[in-house]
Every structure is written in C-alpha cells, then in structure tokens.
C-alpha cells in the first residue's frame, strides 16, 4: 500500500494511466458491511484479476463499478469510484452512459433469445438511435465477431438464434455484443466458470487478445486462470484488499502471509 506522501506526489500524468481509481470504498448490504475501505487503482489497457475466497467482496466490488448493486434497495455505498477521472457515483452522471462505457460479462452466458446478428447490434441500436445502414450494420457485426475470434465459425448462420450456440460461443458472443458501443472498461464476473476446460482456454485466449484495447477487470475463483490470464492481481479477504501486485510478483513472492496461504490452497 502506498503512503500518503507518495499519493500526493502522484502527477496527473500518472493518474491518467489508471482506468479505475477506487478511494475508501465502503459498502453495506443492510447492516452487513461487505467492503471495508477498498482503495486501489486499475491500470488502463491491462488485465487485472480479483481473487479471493467466496464472500470476500470481489464480485460486490465488480458490481459497484457499473452500478448494478444499487438496484438492490438496501445497498449503501460510501467512497469514490473514478472511471477515467470521473466519479461514477456523482449525481450528474447518467447511468445509461456508465453502462455504455463499462461493459459487463456474467458468469453464465446470457445471450438474448434473438439472432446472433441482432445480439451484436442490440447495444449499438440502443446507443445510436438505430440509425445505421444495412452495410454499416454488417460491418459492425463482422468487426465485433472478428474481435472475439468467432467470425469464421458463425458467419454463415448470423440469423440463427444465439441461444443455439455452445456455451463457449455464447460467452464469446456476450463479449462481442459489448464491443460495438466502444466501452472503455470490461468487467468479467467469473466468465469461464460455466465452461469446460476447452471453452475456458478459448475464452482466456480471447481475453488476452483484447488486452490493450480495453481495461479489463476479471473476477475469478480459478487461481491458475488469474495467473495465466492477468497482468496485475488483487487479493481480497473479508471485504478488504490484502495485496495488489503484478501477477508474477503476487504468485511468486507474495508479501502477505494471508496471500501466501490462499494461493497455496490453505483456505478458500
């Protein structure tokens, strides 16, 4: 953890390297406090993984970043989450824009029960008022599907229902449909836990491909996955951040005994 002097010394230039800056985030579900003074920065264009045992607050944190938690009426939040320099909990912030800039991928693939093509265009239509020519739309669909390495597999059946795809393909499609609205941050909540090992490998490969273009924050239970598919890693325990380091450093020489215990499988 940085000390105060170092924080103050941070220049604006450095600040711009961060996609998400979290300051003293506390969150309560009713009277239960799920996050305690969470304080870390997520680097722009990198893949950061959040690991920790069930109930440590990693998913809760993720859900605070695109403000889905607040849909539950009994959630209370204190502190700041700045995304590209703006506090997303500021009253002047438009929720629809938050959701557009910050895409979310769920544990269980949730394609809409419409065609593959319409799934990709769904978000785009929402945010463009639906004004795009047929050829523009074709371009958007092809581009998004190419980015998720799905184009060659589905190009001949774009009008088939998305729900007919395999789980792995569905999850790739769920990532693809976020891309046409050009989000800057992608949140992934255990994106591979519903997939078999082959599907997991394929989706991990895809996430690695997207590195650089998007700032990716991925919650995972799977430590091997965090190690393979992320550049920085944050370990959380009981609602607190224990350690935040580069993935190599965290797994090779953890600074905290708690981190060491967890990655060696002593609990969790």
């Amino acid at each position: 953890m940085m000390n105060n002097a170092a924080q103050i010394a941070e220049t604006t230039e450095q600040a711009q390297q961060y996609a998400i800056r979290t300051e003293k985030l506390n969150l309560w579900y009713g009277t239960f406090q799920a996050l305690y003074d969470v304080d870390f920065n997520i680097r722009q264009g990198m893949i950061t993984s959040l690991i920790g045992p069930s109930g440590c607050g990693k998913s809760t944190y993720l859900r605070s970043v695109n403000r889905i938690n607040e849909r539950l009426g009994y959630v209370r939040i204190e502190g700041n989450i700045d995304v590209f320099g703006q506090n997303i909990y500021d009253p002047s912030v438009e929720l629809v824009q938050v959701r557009k800039q910050i895409g979310m991928v769920f544990q269980r693939p949730n394609p809409l029960p419409i065609s593959i093509r319409d799934n990709i265009l769904f978000g785009h239509k929402l945010h463009s008022g639906g004004r795009a020519s047929r050829s523009e739309q074709d371009g958007i669909v092809e581009d998004a599907l190419r980015q998720v390495l799905l184009w060659d597999k589905v190009k001949d059946r774009l009008n088939r229902k998305a729900t007919e795809l395999s789980l792995e393909e569905q999850q790739k499609l769920c990532i693809a449909r976020l891309l046409p609205v050009k989000p800057r941050v992608l949140l992934m909540d255990e994106p591979c836990s519903a997939l078999d090992p082959k599907g997991t490998a394929a989706v991990e490969e895809l996430i690695w491909e997207l590195r650089g273009k998007y700032s990716i924050l991925i919650v995972t239970h799977n430590m091997a996955q965090a190690r393979r598919a992320s550049e920085e890693c944050i370990f959380m325990l009981m609602g607190k951040v224990v350690e935040h380091a580069t993935t190599d450093q965290l797994f090779v020489s953890p600074q905290s005994q708690q981190t060491a215990d967890y990655i060696e499988g002593r609990y969790g």
Partner: protein, 296 residues
C-alpha cells in the same frame, strides 16, 4: 454361492406387498380421473344428441320467431360478440399495463403487496356481486343505462384480475438474465420491456386473454342486470343500446318461455359451448405455435 446370487434379485414378501399397494393407488387415481371427465363427456354428448337437430346455418343467422319458440339466435350471437369485444377492449389494455407496472417497475413494498392482495380478492368476488356493482356504478352513477357499454364494463372489471395475473405470470417467466443483459448494455426499463420482455411473453399473455374470452362468453349474471335484454325486436346500433346475449337467451328459452320445442335450448347451449371450445382450441394452438418458436 449360486444360491446367494440368485436370491439377490428375487422378489421378497415386502416387495410383493409394496407392489400391491402401489397398484391399488394407481387404480384409485385413475378412477378419480375417469370420474372427473365423465360429466364433461355426458354434457357434450347430451347437447349433441338433443340439440344438433335444430343446428343449421339459418339457425345461426336468423331472428327468433313465434315468441322465441322458433327461428334462430342471430341477435343473441351478435350481442355476445359485442359484449365480449367491448369488454376486452377495456380490460386487456388496462390489465396488461397494470401487470407490466407490477412486474417490471413496482418496488416490492407494502403498497404493491396490498395491490396484489386486492387483485387476488377481486378475482374471488362472485359474479352476482360484480353484476350489482355494475348496476350501481355504470348503469346508474355514470348514467350509461342498461346498455352494451355498462354490461361490457362490468364484464371487464370481472376479467381484469385474471388478465393481470396471467400477464404477470408470463412476464415473470422471462428469465431475469435477459433483463440484466439489457440493463447492462444501457437499455432503459422500457427498452428492455419493449425489445425483450414483451416479445418473449406475448404467447402467454394472448393465451390468458383468449381463455378470458371463453369465460366471458358464458357469463350470465353480470350482463342480465346491466345490458342484456330478454328479447329485442331490433339489433343494437351502438354501445348505448341494449342487446340480447347467448347466455341469457339460453336461460330464457329454457325456463321463461312456454311451449319451446325441446331441441331449441339444447341447440342454443351447443352453439354457446361450441364458441367456447373453438376459442380454447385457438388459444391452445396459438400457444403451441408461439412456444415452438422460442427456445432458451
């Protein structure tokens, strides 16, 4: 050794007893089921046997004659179509809108729970009470007189809870994951409803509505005080006129008019039940068609 392996799979006395008991219950439940469908079969068979003699195209499309002891049922048939159509024009938009609000927008608090409770209770109100309410509210207070409008509004109030409940159930059958997917792409509630929730629940909603049509068709009490007439020598020209109705006509020809040939009331009943069965079949066929189209 061989003996042991043999006895491993042999029937024991306990097995045999359990089997007998299970067979007994199976037979019992089957008999109950047969008992259940017996009245339906008897009713339909009686109607067909005794009523089919009067059935003809003329019967459907001519007026009753000779003090309703002869002729057809056209004014009653037309009147029922009027009543049901106007009732649905009121209850469907109202009920579907209320169900959308309750299922998609309303927070779960004491007020919504109160509304839900009211809807359930409204569904349990006897039709004669609805009828008297209709007289007080629509015939007298709003001054519609005994008219198609007053009768249809009464029917609409009666069908409203069922439309709301059926609609809400089909809305809630749409997986929550679809809504979350939309919200997380920045769709508003309405965009989510319009693009995802409604298209995936429309089959259930329409099924509920069509089943309501068939129930409304047979209602007698709510219409006899509010808009349906014993006999009218003319057809209704607007919703402010009275009308004849199939259900009331059946009551009249079977109990109120002397010297009616036996086949006539059976014929009327057969047409009435035929309308209901046709509606139900359409509803079932439609649901099967729409279900076949959706997959998740």
């Amino acid at each position: 050794m061989t003996e042991d392996t043999m006895s491993l799979f042999e029937e024991t006395a306990l097995n045999a007893k359990n089997k007998r008991v299970q067979g007994l219950y199976r037979t019992l439940f089957m008999l109950m089921t047969l008992l259940l469908i017996t009245p339906v079969v008897i009713i339909l068979a009686t109607l067909v046997v005794k009523g089919s003699a009067v059935l003809s195209i003329d019967f459907l499309f001519t007026d009753p004659t000779d003090g309703m002891t002869a002729g057809g049922i056209f004014p009653a048939l037309l009147g029922t179509v009027w009543l049901v159509t106007v009732a649905l024009l009121v209850s469907v938009p109202l009920g579907v809108a209320a169900a959308i609000y309750l299922s998609e927008y309303a927070p779960d608090n004491w007020f919504t729970r109160l509304i839900n409770l009211a809807i359930i209770n409204l569904a349990g109100v006897p039709s004669i009470v609805h009828a008297l309410f209709g007289v007080g509210a629509f015939v007298i207070f709003f001054g519609f007189g005994t008219s198609i409008l007053a009768a249809s509004l009464t029917l609409a109030i009666m069908t409203l809870p069922v439309v709301i409940v059926a609609t809400r159930e089909s809305l809630q059958a749409v997986p929550q994951a679809f809504r979350e997917a939309c919200w997380n792409m920045g769709a508003t509630r309405w965009q989510t409803i319009r693009k995802v929730v409604l298209p995936n629940s429309i089959s259930g909603i329409l099924t509920g509505v069509i089943l309501e049509v068939s129930r409304t068709t047979g209602e007698t009490a709510p219409v006899m005080f509010t808009g349906a007439a014993f006999f009218l020598p003319f057809l209704p020209q607007s919703v402010f006129d009275q009308t004849m109705a199939m259900s009331l006509h059946l009551f009249v020809v079977s109990t109120q008019v002397p010297h009616v040939p036996e086949a006539l009331p059976y014929g009327v009943a057969l047409v009435l039940i035929g309308m209901v069965l046709i509606m139900n079949s359409i509803s079932i066929a439609f649901r099967m068609y729409l279900r076949g189209k959706k997959k998740w």
